[in-house]
């Protein structure tokens, strides 16, 4: 239980750093750390496969892509121009209010049961695979369209137009 609080604290801590770091590169690095804490959360939840996928997909692929892009376009640039403090303050207050309202609306003050592991094998590949390829076969297949579309689009957008050179 204490582990959870510790990890949770880390998650929050790193995520705050993500948004407050001056350099985008630092942000990414903190984000990697944050995601790592998430992976730990998954493990704590006995969702091993999820933890692995999270690790691979987010940290291995997505964040590297971020980093890569950042390097590509912003390498020799100064840090981004920052928003004025007033705007920041307003944003933080707004975000804080949002947090408060959402928490209040979830009525967290009520006591709630602990997260009990009813099915220890729940997070295993075998188990998930069954669900994914039975019930969720259709969304699984349909999401291929999503990826295909994204792929085509990414290529389309990111390539330089031959005409645009002119």
């Amino acid at each position: 239980m204490n582990t959870f609080y510790f990890i949770a604290f880390l998650s929050i801590f790193f995520s705050i750093l993500v948004i407050s770091a001056k350099s985008p590169v630092h942000s990414i690095l903190y984000l990697i750390l944050t995601f790592f804490t998430f992976t730990i959360h998954y493990i704590l939840l006995n969702a091993q496969f999820l933890a692995i996928v999270n690790f691979i997909v987010y940290m291995g692929a997505i964040l590297v892509l971020f980093l890569y892009t950042l390097m590509l376009i912003n390498l020799n640039k100064e840090a981004e121009p920052v928003k004025s403090n007033l705007v920041k303050l307003a944003a933080v207050i707004g975000g804080g209010c949002f947090l408060i309202t959402i928490v209040a609306s979830l009525k967290l003050l009520n006591v709630s049961p602990g997260v009990s592991l009813q099915n220890p094998g729940l997070g295993l590949v075998k188990n998930l695979g069954k669900v994914l390829f039975n019930e969720f076969l259709l969304p699984f297949e349909v999401s291929s369209i999503l990826l295909l579309s994204a792929m085509v689009g990414a290529v389309l957008l990111a390539t330089k137009e031959p005409k645009s050179a002119a």
């Binding site: 239980m1 582990t3 959870f4 998650s11 705050i16 993500v18 948004i19 985008p24 942000s27 990414i28 984000l31 944050t34 493990i43 704590l44 939840l45 006995n46 969702a47 091993q48 496969f49 999820l50 999270n54 987010y58 997505i62 892509l65 971020f66 892009t69 950042l70 912003n74 981004e80 920052v82 928003k83 944003a91 933080v92 707004g94 975000g95 928490v103 967290l108 006591v111 709630s112 602990g114 997260v115 009990s116 592991l117 009813q118 220890p120 729940l122 997070g123 998930l128 069954k130 669900v131 994914l132 969720f136 969304p139 999401s143 999503l146 990826l147 994204a150 689009g153 990414a154 957008l157």
Partner: protein, 109 residues
């Protein structure tokens, strides 16, 4: 592993919700306070991960695997979005030499 997870038994579900909400809100704040498109995008990723975590928690709490399966789809989406988003950012950078969203306000009113 088993012992580790057992320790989790005592963590109330609400704490997960709270954690997710906090991280989600941090993501929101990040979107609000940053001007760099990439960082904003990262904040969005943070929000998505908060959701992922919550889903996993619910899934475990319910003993129902569909929640975790859903996380995969979110990840798939995240991947697709990253591809597109970064492509767009690159494209814009190519045109404007900036990824500051405040520069992008020609369309208004």
């Amino acid at each position: 592993m088993q012992s580790l997870t057992n320790t989790m038994q005592a963590v109330p579900l609400n704490n997960y919700i709270l954690l997710s909400a906090i991280i989600f809100s941090i993501g929101v704040i990040g979107v609000l306070i940053r001007r760099n498109a990439i960082v904003i995008f990262m904040s969005v990723e943070l929000m998505l991960n908060a959701v992922n975590l919550l889903l996993a928690a619910f899934s475990v709490y319910r003993g129902d695997a569909t929640g975790q399966v859903f996380v995969f789809f979110i990840m798939a989406l995240a991947a697709a979005e990253v591809a597109i988003g970064l492509a767009i950012i690159v494209m814009i950078y190519r045109n404007t030499n900036s990824i500051d969203i405040n520069v992008l306000n020609r369309l208004k009113w």
